[in-house]
């Protein structure tokens, strides 16, 4: 718990995302069609729906470059944890299979996040997963 209150917090990347003209500070979720405002508590780089955690494949290598012409839906695949305890959401595009990561926002659905976090432990159909769970 103490690791999150470190004095020198990791600085956020400067915001360079260019949103399309005519967009009025919100986007429509590709998964559940929820209208999501761009302003989010805890992060200034919201790219996924707080309800279903789905995102859209618009960026290639640099966040905000809008260089990908895939435009596929990106579903939340797993969670990873930074050394300072922050959760990163890992998305995978359902069209081209590319991976991307984004920090979780303060208003993300905690039930969906925890369901994602316990998913590796609940998967008992895989041979490797079952053996790991049985041995430890």
């Amino acid at each position: 718990m103490g690791r999150r209150n470190v004095r020198d917090r990791r600085p956020q990347r400067a915001k360079t995302v260019r949103h399309a003209a005519g967009e009025s500070g919100s986007f429509r979720c590709a998964g559940c069609r929820l209208e999501v405002p761009l302003a989010a508590p805890g992060t200034s780089h919201r790219n996924h729906c707080p309800n279903c955690l789905a995102s859209l494949h618009v960026d290639r290598r640099i966040p905000g470059d809008r260089a990908a012409d895939c435009r596929g839906r990106m579903v939340a695949l797993s969670l990873s944890s930074r050394p300072d305890g922050e959760w990163m959401l890992i998305h995978r595009c359902v069209r081209c299979g590319e991976l991307g990561s984004n920090r979780v926002a303060g208003d993300d659905n905690p039930r969906a996040l925890v369901r994602l976090a316990v998913r590796p432990l609940a998967a008992a159909s895989d041979a490797v997963a079952r053996r790991v769970l049985l041995r430890l």
Partner: protein, 125 residues
């Protein structure tokens, strides 16, 4: 289970080739026990950035890739997600049977061990 139950016989080059882990220096056989090609060290799960995930094909980066998370694909199998320490690119690779169970489990439970919000709230709802 032996390697002979795979649908194809691995080529002699794949059967004898090895690579050295970038992190722990272990000499690893390129052939996994399941008969497929291995792309990460079974001891520390570190990989090397040789495949360009965005364009496809070879990558010139060659950086060390550290395992960041364990994902579950649709059929319930585990998948390991790597992140390159040089260029921050992400890549997914399948888990092989002789991968280090302790390290795998550590990566899988790491988000739950230090959650950003108190998890005991879920006992009440």
């Amino acid at each position: 289970m032996s390697t002979t139950d795979s649908p194809y016989e691995p080529s002699p080059t794949l059967r004898t080739s090895t690579f050295t882990c970038l992190r722990c220096g272990l000499s690893v056989s390129a052939l996994a026990p399941g008969g497929e090609r291995r792309d990460h060290c079974p001891s520390c799960l570190t990989s090397r950035h040789v495949v360009d995930q965005v364009r496809g094909g070879r990558s010139d980066c060659g950086g060390r890739m550290v395992p960041v998370s364990v994902a579950v694909v649709r059929d319930g199998a585990w998948m390991l997600v790597h992140r390159c320490t040089l260029c921050d690119e992400l890549a997914g690779s399948s888990v092989s049977r002789d991968d280090n169970h302790l390290v795998l489990m550590r990566i899988a439970v790491r988000p739950l061990a230090d959650p950003p919000f108190p998890l005991d709230l879920f006992g009440e709802v």
